[in-house]
Symmetry: C2
């Protein structure tokens, strides 16, 4: 029935103030207000309808994205939305588009790497969308290894121009979003060649298409790279291919904030610190962590609500069956993901603070915390995106068969999310970078005090000797005991692998040989960060409202003890825990699940997602799942007619045993 809330009973059992929890999730009352207002603006506007998206063919799908993007821009301008409001608006439109790259990569690249003159020329055009830009770095043959890019930009002093060229097939730019069909301009990364010498990879502003008729500029081949994973999903984006055949651009279109090429072909370095680039990476990766918590929380919201609606087995005397959310196997898969969504939210919030801190230090020429901040964001990007990708798929499985239907929203959410594991640093490559930093930190322990998230390494000697003191399951409900356990595990693994590396004559060979173990040590370090930032958050004053802190504490313990159980091999192998202590942690985990249970639906309501944003029949706020699933089925084009296209031509002759005689060309 319409208008009935089938989850009322679930909402009644919540033990906390829901509005206060929404504020805690959003970060502030103001953010919640803006976010909710933009979410409703999108949800109530039929232009942003997205239910039919997965059914559209590529051309129609893409055209519809252009329509939404133009309409959104019209709204932004006509309503005079602030930059923050515009960001929320684009988020809730929930459709990858060229605008993501224009605002998220093209403009920031000019802001970060352009000279004042370049910024004055290009930014006003870009910010008014008189030009549309993308970020063309990745090539067909090179992703992770930026120094291996093959596109060349050769300086021609005769004409004061750079000549951009794609010397091989694998040098074709490949993947940049917005490149294929929309962008008029791109920041192109290419090997700078001056006087026959290679001078590193630099960015160049290149016009790709005519501003008159949008046709590609002479010497440029550009197009879309074709279909990607999933229905709808990332196929709204024109990820592109781009080749240059000796394309000339003026010298002043090389981004020259850090390095300059003079008219005479001299290479000059400005006094702008090269470390700036790490500041940008910290920024981009903290947004990825924030996005991880959004994506995971959406999946968890869907799976939690549907697990409360869905019943299976356990009927007594013909009464209703058991809600699947009451099964411990369901709780053991779902609640740690719910806890992870909150954990990632708070570690993302902290990363935002970290970026501000890094920025201020950079401005003061203080680079001391940069390596640590860089390692930390690289590791958290890897940890949270991997967990989110896996978590979305786990949520889909938790919805049983119906999770496989596109109308559950989960297939598209998965397909659109998973590139996050690869872009902006492949997750395994990033963990190896973290490992390199950890090993370096260990090797310098004698003479350099580790900072920030590696500060615990300064206490490594103690952490290597003291073992866990927990004797009862209750004693695991202690932030001190938990942090020490994660610190001891991480420190022991880092020190252990550093010792094994030291036995190799050639350190690089050792690093290559032990790569898989190095990755495990990095994961341990990153999990410690997530756990301790969650605990720190709980100690902050800004958590207000009845029951909010208590409910979050339960989630924090769930995250920590589930992680401990999942990786108990590490904790046992390093000797910090006894099997008995690990088992007590697992016992406590079950108790915690019972504490999450009455709050589960309210905890996902606290994300404050509209049904439009969730895009899932299974995750509907009102729980009215089955009638809506049934209705939605009939929307499929196959149901346009009782008898399917092709039946008379192909199946009827089979049934009538006339197939072999049939003249129908099959």
């Amino acid at each position: 029935m319409e208008g009935v809330d089938y989850l009322t009973d679930e909402r009644k059992t919540a033990q906390f103030d829901i509005v206060a929890m929404k504020v805690a999730w959003a970060g502030s009352r103001e953010t919640l207000e803006v976010s909710d207002r933009m979410a409703k603006l999108v949800a109530n506007d039929p232009v942003f309808e997205k239910f039919s998206r997965p059914m559209l063919g590529r051309k129609e799908l893409f055209k519809n994205t252009l329509r939404k993007a133009a309409y959104a821009w019209k709204l932004i301008v006509s309503l005079g939305l602030s930059e923050e409001e515009a960001k929320w608006l684009r988020l809730y439109i929930d459709e990858p588009a060229f605008t993501d790259l224009h605002w998220g990569m093209f403009i920031p690249a000019i802001e970060g790497q352009g000279t004042e003159e370049q910024k004055q020329k290009w930014l006003p055009l870009a910010k008014k969308m008189q030009i549309i830009g993308c970020y063309a770095q990745t090539e067909l043959g090179h992703g992770s290894n930026v120094q291996g890019l093959e596109t060349t930009a050769t300086f021609d002093p005769q004409t004061d121009e750079f000549v951009l060229h794609s010397p091989t097939l694998t040098s074709s730019k490949w993947w940049p979003g917005g490149l294929g069909k929309v962008s008029t301009h791109a920041i192109v990364y290419a090997r700078l060649i001056v006087g026959g010498q290679f001078h590193g990879v630099h960015g160049f502003i290149v016009q790709l298409r005519s501003l008159e008729d949008h046709s590609p500029v002479d010497g440029i081949t550009v197009g879309d790279i074709g279909l990607k994973f999933g229905n709808g999903a990332y196929n709204t984006m024109d990820n592109g291919v781009l080749r240059f055949d000796h394309v000339r651009i003026p010298r002043n279109q090389m981004l020259m904030r850090v390095s300059q090429v003079t008219k005479e072909g001299e290479i000059m370095q400005s006094d702008v610190p090269r470390q700036l680039i790490y500041g940008t990476m910290v920024y981009v990766r903290q947004t990825i962590v924030a996005d991880a918590s959004k994506a995971l929380s959406r999946a968890v919201c869907i799976a939690t609500r549907y697990s409360a609606v869905r019943r299976q087995f356990g009927s007594r005397n013909g009464g209703p069956e058991t809600q699947v959310i009451d099964y411990k196997t369901q709780q053991n898969r779902l609640f740690p993901l719910l806890a992870s969504a909150y954990a990632f939210r708070f570690v993302g919030e902290w990363l935002k603070w970290l970026y501000m801190d890094v920025k201020q230090r950079l401005a003061a020429n203080d680079f001391s915390t940069l390596p640590e901040a860089h390692a930390c964001t690289a590791g958290l990007k890897s940890l949270t995106t991997t967990a989110t990708a896996d978590g979305i798929e786990e949520c889909r499985k938790l919805c049983g068969g119906h999770g496989y239907l596109v109308s559950s929203g989960l297939p598209e959410l998965f397909a659109v999310y998973i590139p996050a594991c690869t872009y902006e640093g492949d997750n395994v490559v990033l963990l190896l970078q973290v490992a390199r930093f950890l090993v370096k930190t260990v090797s310098e322990l004698g003479h350099k005090k580790p900072v920030g998230t590696t500060a615990y390494m300064g206490r490594a000697a103690g952490l290597l000797q003291t073992n866990c003191a927990v004797q009862t399951a209750e004693e695991w409900l202690n932030p001190g005991a938990i942090v020490e356990a994660f610190e001891a595990r991480a420190a022991r693994m880092a020190v252990g692998i550093a010792q094994r590396l030291a036995k190799f004559e050639n350190p690089e060979q050792g690093f290559a040989e032990l790569a898989a173990d190095l990755v495990e040590a990095s994961v341990a370090h990153c999990q410690l960060i997530v756990v301790s930032k969650f605990i720190e958050k709980l100690q902050q004053q800004d958590i207000r409202g009845k029951g909010v802190r208590e409910s979050l504490e339960v989630l924090c313990y769930v995250y920590a003890l589930f992680t401990l159980h999942k990786h108990q091999g590490d904790f046992l192998a390093t000797g910090y825990l006894s099997p008995k202590q690990a088992s007590l942690a697992n016992d406590q985990l079950r108790t915690l699940y019972s504490k999450v249970r009455p709050n589960a639906v309210a905890l996902v309501d606290s994300f404050s997602y509209t049904d439009h944003y969730l895009g899932s029949i299974l995750g509907r706020y009102d729980g009215n799942v089955y009638p809506k699933l049934y209705e939605a089925a009939w929307e499929d084009p196959l149901n346009d007619s009782d008898v399917a296209d092709g039946f008379h031509q192909y199946v009827q002759p089979m049934l009538k045993q006339k197939l072999l005689l049939s003249s129908a060309k099959l």
Copy 2:
């Protein structure tokens, strides 16, 4: 370049006879011959082209499937293919279709549950495809819990008919493949009601559509349930919805081999053992395990070949970069999956033997091994399908960004495979069934000798006391040491959980409370089965050819030691292994990877898959990846024109700053 084999060097390093390995994988020389012949028949016939499949809209896609199915039937009849040949043909066509359910469920259900009379009437019609049938069990509200199905079949003695009815919305049949648009008949599972009394769930043969014009029979509402996960993928199947409004069928259309309803409304039981149904489950699940090895091996084949083609980092003096397959992090993710593909292949082969054994025993009224065989197949279904679903996605990630392109073949392989984790028993529900059996086995140890795959439990006392004796990494290359480790872990976990259960006053409450731990004990038991069947296979005489046994031994150790490392928490927590011994196993694993490396490409060549079946540009036999990716991009409909549809309408006004003035309705 066409015609060049870019993987020649990889193939030269193989240390085994490739044809002999193909025979080992196929099971016999004869099977290899039939399989290869059918694969080529499909690959060389343009009707079976599948590259464009993911780009088709639903109607066009479905129509194309009907065309392929009709054409395949024409081939089968006109070439006089045997049933075995037809099965291989359908496999290599590689497109889910109504025929899968017709041959795989509808016909077997009649064969297994029909009386002689029913078989004589229905099987000839079905086998000539004069009728097309499906298997309608699952409902909108009930999947796992078959006893909770709501559809009713009420006997009306007045007319000697059953009246089929869907009393609620959730009683709608939902999911059955082939039901939506094609099937003329269905086996419908419904609650039998005679004289107002419920007599269990039974199967009924029901006509759904007219054999003349294919319109639904009066009282029947039938249609497709809508889009499912992925491009192409399972959307070639018309999974359906079905409702009955008091539809009457003759009494003799209830499947009556086991239970009969007489004209007078009496319920009679035949002397056919009810355990027959478990025999069928053993059969169906062993085919699922066999399919798991096929799906995983396809993904591994793609990822292995592309990992040999792809290079990244590590260039020295401008020379070529390192092949990514040479990185230990890549090997540590890829080679265990390669080993799993082989492990699942051999355990699947053994399950085929087990099914034959069960069948013979059933015929002789020997039910003694049935519970063990049932638990074993349930567990292996769960273990192999979960590992395969995860493994396909891992292979996609191992291909870097390009794995996200549909032309890599991996997105569709994933999307089409994952339902296997849910159908024929949700994987977690199945592991709980296994756990129940394990706990029962433990509780009966005093007076009942455990059989088959649980025979090791008979030595539980010893396994609980003896600890591992391994002292060097080399000592892990010993089948005895490995099997004992897996037996000890499984036995200790099963006994441990049984002891904890015994402390609960109410056993069912204990079972519910400890469900997550019970699942872990089941996984340990199932991994033991896979490891020991792999080892047994290596001891068989039928493995012939230079280097074949040796190469398979390496894979077997990789599977075992990787599994041991991944679950080292279990091995350490149960006290069987010391941290030092676990670490030695991990050291040995790295050495094993170096032994797999030269054979990797040849090991995936041994699956004998055509490029058509693989359906992946990244996995091409000749390794000619980049030119083909580049070519394929231009096939996308978005590249039909230089300027995309919608550009002039939506983007141009934005660039020209005319959006707000524009009269274009957005």
